[in-house]
């Protein structure tokens, strides 16, 4: 059993490009899913029974079924309705919807932790509900769950590897392709693992540093 990493060298460029695709789709689906999650949270917390039920159902559906099934449903199932998506679109939509369901719960924890007094102060000042939601409680809520959101981002990055199964040319896909070309399975998988791990680690690190910059106002908290 001999390991020879040299065979992988010529493919490093391909791996790094594929890593870029993984990161790209992660960022895109995190942002889209993140914004969606705030809306879903608001919907779930709203007093309109039907809306609240729909949002609860959506969260329950996407958190209790495998991401792979969700990807299959969107990529293979939607064409039934005439919606034909390419692998990029299907991956983006599936990952965004999946991410939104997790972020909605995270965000809910954040909003629950905002002291009721802030809402009362806003109301006492005559601010309308939309302003209280967006200008008063949103930022402190996000600040409270920032670490969880970072974890979710890294998790999304790792699970984006599932998009390889429908052919998205991201990192996992590249690893498997190189494997089939060089048969250096352990080597390419090890390098791939290293790339995933190092990226996740760096993201967490940068996020930690960024926290102090993003939330300058939370000096003592």
């Amino acid at each position: 059993m001999n390991l020879y990493f040299g065979d992988i060298l010529p493919y490093m460029g391909q791996l790094l490009t594929a890593l870029g695709v993984s990161l790209g789709i992660t960022v895109a689906s995190f942002v889209i899913g993140g914004v969606l999650s705030i809306a879903v949270y608001a919907g779930k917390a709203s007093s309109i029974k039907l809306l609240s039920l729909l949002c609860t159902g959506y969260i329950g559906l996407f958190r209790n079924t495998p991401l792979l099934v969700q990807i299959y449903l969107i990529y293979f199932g939607l064409p039934v309705f005439g919606i034909n998506l390419d692998v990029f679109q299907a991956s983006l939509i599936a990952l965004s919807l999946n991410n939104a369901s997790y972020c909605a719960e995270i965000v809910r924890g954040g909003f629950n932790s905002v002291p009721r007094g802030l809402v009362e102060a806003g109301e006492a000042l005559g601010l309308d509900r939309w302003t209280v939601f967006t200008r008063v409680t949103l930022t402190p809520a996000l600040r409270a769950v920032y670490p969880s959101l970072v974890n979710q981002f890294v998790h999304l990055f790792l699970t984006s590897s599932l998009a390889s199964i429908i052919g998205l040319p991201e990192l996992m896909h590249a690893i498997l392709e190189i494997n089939s070309q060089t048969y250096r399975s352990i080597e390419v998988l090890a390098i791939g693992a290293l790339l995933y791990f190092a990226s996740g680690f760096l993201i967490s690190l940068i996020a930690r540093v960024g926290e102090r910059f993003l939330f300058r106002w939370a000096v003592n908290v």
């Binding site: 079924t65 099934v69 299959y72 293979f76 590897s161 599932l162 690893i175």
Partner: protein, 232 residues
């Protein structure tokens, strides 16, 4: 309608395999994870560091990658060719160990220090302290996270289909190719997964309620992120 029932039964059969896979790898992973949890809080660096490294690395790479590692690696390294089920079992157990390792670590550390101090003061040895005093309390703390872990395990098992084992998701894929009805097949699979998760959540809630009276009316407060139900 007959076709529907036939298909549903087929998928339910595959779901049975999913559950078997999850049960076996869950038990193995939890046992291994328990050891890892103890190792992580050990005062001996020779025990602590390998465990910390293992848990951090396994949690920092995609599950799919780990599955392929086992799938390609075991034949190459050990010269054995594994059945897909066994490959799945090993992969999920390895992943499970890392996650339950964190859960055990967090739960044991969440038990107030005074408990082990009292046990030692009473003259109990280390084994008795751990198994009679600390663990029962840690178990209660670990239930929400443990429930989340099991649900994640069931979801991760869907990836074992990629290497050829016919679990629920792969069965749905095969079905969709046969019937040319991907929507129906995957929706049926989704519903089955949902019910499995729902059942696990219910059992978890029941377990929580059963265990709580032992520790007074209040639920123990824990801040460790490893112990939240989302698991990740």
């Amino acid at each position: 309608m007959d076709a529907f029932i036939e298909q549903a039964l087929g998928l339910l059969g595959a779901a049975g395999w999913t559950l078997l896979l999850c049960l076996t790898s869950g038990v193995a992973g939890t046992a291994f994870g328990f050891v890892l949890g103890l190792m992580q809080i050990s005062k001996n660096p020779a025990l602590r560091w390998p465990a910390v490294v293992y848990v951090t690395v396994v949690r920092g790479i995609p599950v799919l990658l780990l599955i392929f590692f086992v799938y390609f690696g075991v034949p190459l390294l050990l010269g054995v060719n594994l059945e897909p089920f066994f490959t799945g079992f090993v992969s999920l157990a390895l992943v499970g160990a890392a996650y339950t390792g964190e859960i055990f670590r967090g739960a044991i550390q969440a038990v107030p220090r005074g408990q082990s101090e009292a046990a030692t003061a009473l003259g109990l040895n280390a084994a008795d302290t751990m198994f009679r005093v600390i663990l029962p309390q840690a178990l209660r703390i670990a239930v929400p996270a443990g429930t989340g872990f099991l649900i994640n395990l069931v979801k991760d098992s869907s990836l074992i289909g990629i290497i050829g084992f016919v679990e629920l998701t792969r069965a749905a894929k095969i079905l969709s190719n046969l019937t040319l009805d991907p929507l129906g097949a995957f929706l049926m699979a989704a519903v089955i997964y949902f019910f499995i998760s729902f059942a696990i959540s219910r059992v978890g809630a029941l377990l929580e309620r059963r265990l709580t009276p032992q520790f007074g009316a209040r639920k123990p407060r824990v801040d460790d992120p490893a112990l939240t139900p989302t698991g990740h």
